[in-house]
Amino acid sequence: MKAIARGFARPHALRWHPTVLLALGVLCCVSMASPAAMAASAAASKAMHTQQIEIRNFAFAPATLTVPAGTRVVWTNQDEEPHVITSAGSQFASSKGLDTSDSYAVTFSKPGTYAYYCSIHPMMVGTIIVQ
């Protein structure tokens, strides 16, 4: 990310149209989120849908979420206990330990059923259905 930003700072890069830079910036940010997000970048740059999942009382709400492909899903931990978002089949990257109020976002580009759980409280399970 840093290296790319430095590249743009060179004089010839300044001639680039601002909207091109903006679009590239969006792509960069999206691709930082997770491997799944990289494939989603084209769709995401067109229309970024975001859906929230709340983590409260050791449960995901909603536990099952159905979204169109390209949706960015954001988990936010409202518990005092940390939680770790983990894909049941390693279909997307795990979050770090989410402390209170921390969020984690994954953009789902491909249709499918994505089961996930909290790796340290495994009875906490959820499903994202991407259509």
Partner: protein
Amino acid sequence: MQDNHDNEAGGRRQFLKCMAWAGAGTLWLMKGGVLRAQPLGDGAATASMADASFSFAQISDSHIGFHKAPNMDVVGTLRASVALVNAQAARPDFLLHTGDLTHLSKPEEFDTLTGVMQESHARKVFYVPGEHDVIGDNGAEFFRRFGERQQTGGWYSFDHRGVHFVGLINVLDLKAGGLGSLGMEQLAWLKKDLAGLSAETPLVVFAHMPLWPLYPPWGWGTDDSAEAMSLLRRFGSVSVLNGHIHQIQQKVEGNITFYTARSTAYPQPAPGVGPGPGPMKEVAPGALHRYLGIRDVRHVQGRQALAVTEEVLS
């Protein structure tokens, strides 16, 4: 607090007074192969030590890094717990920390924990990790600092004055929808570890998450604990010590007695009370110490009994 402790200097009384937000552990008495818990700071602990052959103390769930209601000073409450163990008339032979040393597995949290535990007069501290200690690296940092390095999986055993101790790991490789897990490899090791022991050998088995289905809806249990228990059943005296749920729960199953310890940091609600587990935020500052504890065990040679005693910071 009993009068016979008052001569332990005004300092102790003073720190207890300052410990409105305090946590503690459990004092365990080993009496003839059977474990008895007693709250530290209770005069009864001193009395029952008379016929114990040795004791050790259990500390659990110190959650260094937690800084919210009801305990803004988890370092202070851990430090007070260690001081309480140090203040025991007979020094416990060693300490057990049954996991969740830290809240988020951060190096600086492990550093702080190490610093406080160095204040202990105990010759040795044995650790097992909680799920809070293995975030992000499957426990690599925990095992590097606190591991016994007997087995690659981190589990271990040792003998102490006729009692066989086993430290198990049940917070790694957890399966979606499941509870704590020991795994095939660890169970195979346990079988081998116990194979040479006579049924008269008192056993103390410790792990972070409860090794019995205490309250599965809240994740309070271990998926394959029944397999472990089947290996322990032939022994005459088995004590299973756990943490994780931040409160005392006990259960007797034949010759196996299960205990969970208090936290040195904050209490959690009784099973099924309220919407979920987590800190009891509404505990008043002055009342917190009643929920926190140290466990001390003393062993009496020649009898098949351990004395387990609980102590609260009161």
